[in-house]
């Protein structure tokens, strides 16, 4: 039976179209993916991301233990700061991509992808030297409030100052939103300003309803996984299982910025990435626009002079950029801006060009 978030009934009441997503019964859209996408770009949208997992390290040594498991560096962070990071294999490829939160040196909280939760937890238990992780996924629900009006909406529901001056990007605090105790994190995966609110599972519906009600004046929309996918694709944010996986390294994925090779204590995968960096990356994840007609989709072959040289990892018609956009791994020689290749769509070679990313920039 499919897993359900605490908001499952709320989605059904709103008339959401539900789909199976990595074993979870999740809303793909409520009204229209494009309308929901645009609501996030122009106003504010709510996403139920309670299916994401939460794994915690607490007690003396929590910071050091967790930091050795992730590619980014929590030691350099302050308390109240979060980082995007990879959990990497010894080969430097992705076990998962995560957001790690530093509450204090004795409490680290890691948000993982729903599809990888069990794998990540087992991997962390195996590799943690010191503090053992605790899977707290069922304790937490998570609602993402995303869009230019997100701050105003959340602020009206909380006495905690959530202005950028207090809670800047990739910073978080704790407080009550609509009377519900939350971790209020200025993070998200849409390219817009906004928050991810973590609360107790049994309070999620109260929080969701309060946000929907209070957000009416802002033009709030409940948004499904469809809009989440088109929004993140326009930012060239990687999706685990599509753009990053255990077959591609962090450097190939263009995520060298979340890999801190010089951090004291190192991390799993460091040696492989140092070697790859020294030798040069042979293939890279690029963003491209189709210049011919069609829409690139996950799995379509990338061709150069008729030869298969790579594969599309994500693609869509970008609702904001209004072009067919995609990502894919190509040989390094084809990875620079302006390089051209073809995408094979139903047996037809359609011209594509590598462009600077993100695809979408605020006007």
């Amino acid at each position: 039976m499919a897993l359900r978030t605490p908001l499952n009934e709320a989605h059904r009441k709103l008339g959401a179209r539900m789909v199976d997503f990595a074993g979870w019964d999740m809303p793909v859209q409520y009204s229209s993916i494009i309308a929901e996408h645009e609501a996030v770009r122009r106003a504010v949208g709510l996403f139920d991301v309670s299916h994401m997992g939460e794994i915690e390290f607490t007690g003396p040594g929590a910071l050091e233990t967790a930091n050795r498991l992730i590619s980014n560096d929590l030691v350099r962070c302050k308390d109240g700061q979060a980082v995007y990071a990879g959990l990497l294999t010894e080969q430097g490829t992705f076990v998962d991509d995560v957001v790690a939160y530093r509450f204090s040196p004795e409490r680290i909280f890691i948000c993982v992808n729903s599809s990888n939760r069990e794998k990540d937890f087992a991997w962390m238990r195996e590799h943690a030297q010191g503090v053992k992780p605790v899977d707290r996924s069922s304790d937490f629900a998570q609602i993402a409030v995303q869009g230019p009006k997100a701050e105003a909406l959340v602020q009206r529901l909380t006495k905690t100052d959530v202005s950028k001056a207090q809670v800047d990007t990739y910073r978080f605090t704790e407080g009550e939103v609509a009377g519900v105790k939350c971790i209020i994190s200025r993070t998200g995966y849409t390219g817009e300003d906004g928050f991810e609110l973590y609360c107790a599972s049994d309070r999620a519906e109260a929080l969701w309803n309060a946000l929907l009600q209070e957000g009416q004046a802002d033009g709030v929309m409940a948004c499904g996984l469809g809009a989440r996918d088109s929004l993140r694709t326009e930012m060239k944010y990687a999706l685990y299982g599509n753009d990053i996986d255990e077959a591609h390294t962090a450097l190939e994925a263009g995520l060298g910025w979340i890999v801190k090779l010089d951090k004291p204590g190192g991390f799993i995968g460091k040696q492989a990435l140092e070697k790859q960096k020294a030798e040069g990356v042979q293939r890279k994840l690029v963003g491209f626009v189709l210049t011919g007609s069609g829409i690139p989709r996950h799995g379509y072959p990338i061709l150069k002079d008729g030869q298969r040289v790579g594969e599309v990892t994500s693609g869509t018609m970008g609702p904001s950029v209004k072009k067919p956009i995609g990502m894919g791994y190509v040989p390094a020689a084809l990875a620079s801006e302006g390089a051209t290749f073809d995408v094979e769509i139903r047996g037809r070679a359609v011209a594509a060009q590598v462009v600077k990313t993100p695809f979408w920039k605020k006007p």
Partner: protein
């Protein structure tokens, strides 16, 4: 969900509709089909003059999330395609039985229409799926 199923059209099991227009047949996708697909963002049409075979694929319609094949309700020759859909594919969502028509076919045998579903049979099909 209330479906818009005009009584004067004939339907396929693959959710295309057909409308007789003189000796031609206009083809589109149903309100149910467009609603199930979601936002239509791309329509791939055959060329005018192409031959269609009943039940065989003649084109592709893509929504934000999905790629769907279009199947020909009849055999015959394409005499007109709705070129406006190339620039405004969302017309399929907003007006599936009107401006969102897809193509016009000259059927090789007009009796082919007899094998299609009437509105009542199509309604029953949707209720049973």
């Amino acid at each position: 969900m209330a479906e818009n199923i005009p009584a004067d059209l004939k339907y396929t099991r693959e959710h295309e509709w057909t409308r007789a227009k003189g000796h031609l047949i206009v083809v589109g996708i149903t309100d149910h089909a467009q609603s199930s697909l979601g936002d239509v963002v791309y329509v791939e049409l055959p060329k005018v003059g192409a031959s269609l075979t009943e039940g065989k694929q003649f084109g592709v319609i893509e929504s934000t999330k999905a790629v769907s094949e279009l199947y020909s309700p009849v055999s015959g020759k394409v005499v007109n395609v709705n070129q406006a859909l190339v620039d405004n594919p969302s017309t399929v969502n907003t007006d599936p039985y009107g401006e969102g028509w897809i193509l016009e076919v000259e059927p090789s045998d007009t009796k082919q229409l007899d094998g299609l579903l009437d509105a009542a049979a199509y309604t029953a099909l949707l209720q049973n799926t």
